[in-house]
Amino acid sequence: MKNNLAPLIVLAVLAALPLLGLNSYVMHILILSIMWTLAGMAWNLLGGYCGQVSFGHAAFFGMGAYSAGLIHLHLGASPWWGFLASLPVVALVALGMGSVVLRLRGPYFVLATLAIGEVLRITCENLTDFTKGTLGIMITRTWVEKTQYYYIILGLAALAFIVCRVIVHSRWGYYFVAIREDQDAAESLGIDTTRYKTIALTVSAMLTGLAGAFYTNYMGYIDPGVVFSLGEISILIIMVVMVGGVATEWGPALGAGIMVILAEYIRSLPLIGVAYQTMFGVLLIVIIIYLPNGLVGDWPVLKRKLLRRGAPA
């Protein structure tokens, strides 16, 4: 596969960053950015390449997070096993969900995924014996330092990057894009659209679940309102990809960095800080109007505009 150099350089730079002795706040920002990169790449596979826009990825994030929380709560196992536990759990949920929602197209699919995310949140809040409901689950974090968490999430994100790259350049990837562009044409060209949409959904869900399992281990506390949140998870994942670039390889990483830093910045502002979600909404509208393909996707357009402005009149 061509162009392996750029990802390796990025990975090397990121791997070297903690050696600079960054303070723990900066490390926190980096860890969150990489976690959102992972979730964004996962969403992008289904929503970007396969064209099935999900507003319910919090379902998978939450399932991943609770996989880690629940095996600790009920089995006394280390929440790190949550990574392994989450994979079959999330895959099963995705397959079940897919068999229903993937029959739907366009806005109906969007609404169905949105509903499933919310249904899981409410279920999780009410199964108080099993999940402790809104009390949430507390775990003891393994390390006080950030560095270990940083390398773990970086490793996961690198793995997801490789998975996505291999898929996108393979037969699966071409089938995903064909389905996005015209489902009837794809079907008549011999592509089992139901099957490949299910594959896209399942892989996307499993990678999102890993981000959720990491969240539990890193934050040390989860509750349904946060990990199954429509606004803070489902929509934020979409924003990450939209800002960075839908169906682009580097879009999620760029979008995640921007969104995390922006969220921190806006929240620190006096007065409007509390309304950061409103600000995100405004940003989303601006992006959709001016850069519908995101920063990476519309980079050529953006460059032309900036150059023209910069040039002497």
Binding site: H169, V177, E181, D182, A185, A186, S188, L189, G190
Partner: protein, 240 residues
């Protein structure tokens, strides 16, 4: 030998019979043209063959086996490919990637699929446009891309839905050559077309539909001499 057999095929939409008790065979290696006025049921028949519709009555047999009710991707897997009257290019994919996506059907490896795509693009004369986004192509080439994509699935049987509509005379000649080339490769073709010059030039036999029913079947010479066809469709000047 019959490649495709249409047996007592009917398709009702509510009270409307889009197809009513249609019977005919398509023989191996021939080019069969399906003609008739707008609304005669030609595209409906294609949709029944290719699996988009499950016919209300009757059967479609491909190489002797029933294929009625199979999903379109299964039908394509069996060796029947189609094009669309209203072209459906995968717009934000390059011409090459459009064809490559289809070529993966029988060539799971990228190398194998690329070889097939190369060959098909040369054959259809789209090689020079391979890096263009398909939405940027002029209509004539988009029509050809439909054919290229269908060929990349390496079919035994090809359904062409108005692949000549809207082409200029030069493009018409190119497309006629392509269809003849397809026949030479041993692929059986059923084609819907309004362009009588093209029909008379390439088809071995013609089936005429009118209001969902077959009104005639025969060689081009027989059809142009058929009184009923002339009245229903061709008009006097072609009947001479």
């Amino acid at each position: 030998m019959s490649m495709l057999e249409i047996r007592k095929l009917s398709m009702f939409f509510g009270g409307l019979a889009a197809l009513h008790d249609v019977n005919f065979d398509v023989r191996q290696g021939e080019i069969l043209a399906l003609i008739g006025p707008n609304g005669a049921g030609k595209t409906t028949l294609f949709n029944c063959v290719n699996g988009f519709y499950n016919p209300s009555e009757g059967q479609v047999l491909f190489k002797g086996k029933p294929i009625t009710g199979l999903k379109p991707h299964k039908v394509c897997n069996l060796g029947i490919a189609r094009t669309f009257q209203v072209v459906k290019p995968l717009s934000r994919m390059s011409v090459f990637d459009n064809v490559l996506a289809s070529a993966f059907l029988r060539n799971p490896t990228r190398k194998g699929a690329e070889d097939v795509a190369d060959e098909v693009l040369h054959f259809t004369g789209l090689w020079d446009d391979r890096d263009q986004l398909s939405k940027g192509l002029p209509l004539g080439k988009r029509k050809r891309l439909e054919i290229a994509r269908a060929l990349a699935t390496q079919p035994e049987f090809l359904l062409l839905d108005e692949s000549f509509a809207g082409l200029n005379p030069a493009e018409l000649d190119v497309s006629i050559d392509i269809i003849r080339g397809i026949k030479q490769q041993g692929i059986t073709v059923m084609i819907i077309e309004h362009h009588m010059k093209v029909i008379m030039a390439i088809s071995d036999r013609i089936v005429v539909l009118n209001f969902g029913q077959k009104i005639a079947e025969g060689t081009p010479a027989e059809i142009s001499a058929n009184r009923q066809v002339v009245e229903a469709y061709l008009g006097e000047e072609h009947g001479a």
